[in-house]
Symmetry: C2
């Protein structure tokens, strides 16, 4: 028994380690023994900080949900025009995913055993809020004349979401979070260009 950290510090370490392992091998494969070993502790030490293993995931889900919500709030707080606000929202979310690359894993995680506690509810709620923010911003962009008036805001939001999803899938397959910020801005611009009333600007920019 060499060092002994404070409970808050240790909990922080445990959650971060669990997140890292979740991205590496998948959330369902992460064991308390692995987390402990990674931190140089014994397995029961984990249970000094969480009564049940699921409580670790619950804490993580809460943290991730908060990060998602923060980004939404940040984009709304900025006094940007609708179109720029929309871009900030999407690129900000990509940044959150890049910083927490295990996030997509939790979004598609199944609930445990008999549905006792739905661990990933926080994340689902946050993503629901993100989608609502997308729709809201698309609507505002239409109102501001940035997008053509006949555009369905829900469908447009789905397509914009698709830009994120497409990048996330490539990240998960390649295990490289860096591609999010590398390709994200360009692809988002291309997607949004499809919604402009007149496509002169974007079209001219990319054509020979």
């Amino acid at each position: 028994m060499r060092i002994r950290k404070s409970a808050v510090d240790r909990k922080c370490e445990i959650e971060q380690t669990a997140l890292d392992l979740a991205f590496k091998i998948g959330p369902s494969q992460v064991s308390t023994g692995m987390i402990a070993k990674e931190l140089g502790l014994t397995q029961p030490a984990i249970y000094r900080h969480y009564p049940k293993k699921d409580d670790i995931w619950a804490a993580i889900a809460l943290h991730l949900g908060t990060r998602i919500d923060e980004n939404i709030a940040l984009s709304f707080a900025s006094g940007l025009a609708p179109l720029d606000r929309l871009k900030k929202l999407v690129l900000g979310h990509l940044h959150v995913v890049k910083e927490n690359p295990a996030l997509p894993d939790f979004m598609v995680l199944r609930d445990k055993t008999n549905g006792h506690i739905v661990v990933q509810d926080s994340i689902h709620d946050a993503m629901e809020a993100f989608r609502a923010a997308l729709v809201s911003n698309v609507k505002a962009a239409i109102g501001a004349g940035h997008f053509y008036s006949g555009l369905d805001e829900n469908d447009a939001a789905t397509l914009i979401f698709g830009v994120i999803q497409s990048l996330v899938l490539r990240m998960m397959v390649t295990r490289n979070p860096a591609i999010l910020m590398k390709d994200g801005p360009r692809l988002l611009d291309l997607q949004l260009a499809g919604f402009t009333p007149t496509r002169e600007t974007s079209r001219e920019a990319v054509s020979d």
Copy 2:
């Protein structure tokens, strides 16, 4: 010991059951005991048909990869024009996913332990081929004048892939594969409309 099926029939049942369970609870949570119970067998009975559990997943991955490839081949075999061929490719793939809703789970599955055998290689290869087919079709559509000439075929393919991904995520969260065919055609049309040289047709169709 009531009935006794042939090996091929039983293997088929085992794989189908494993696939169903994989969609329900996630591939990593599926145990040999579950599969056996679902079929009214004992757990070791599974090992009369597969030496290792991973062999089940390998067989499934091979099957899914084949389904993906078949759809690609089918779209190319059709004598359709580039744009219709592209639509057939995408909607056909959505159909494959709808029929095998666990497919996305396998795409993001991590490889086992020490990387002994990469089970999901067949699927990754097939998806690589699918992406190549997307790019090829986009290029053809540009050549045929369906898309504007400055369009980057790789980026366009990524966005079209995003339509699929966006729908797949909603399927995974809602556990409802039906939305793929319900919303797929409409969203695909909306996405492709963003690539047309003149947007009159699609724009007029939706704007009042």
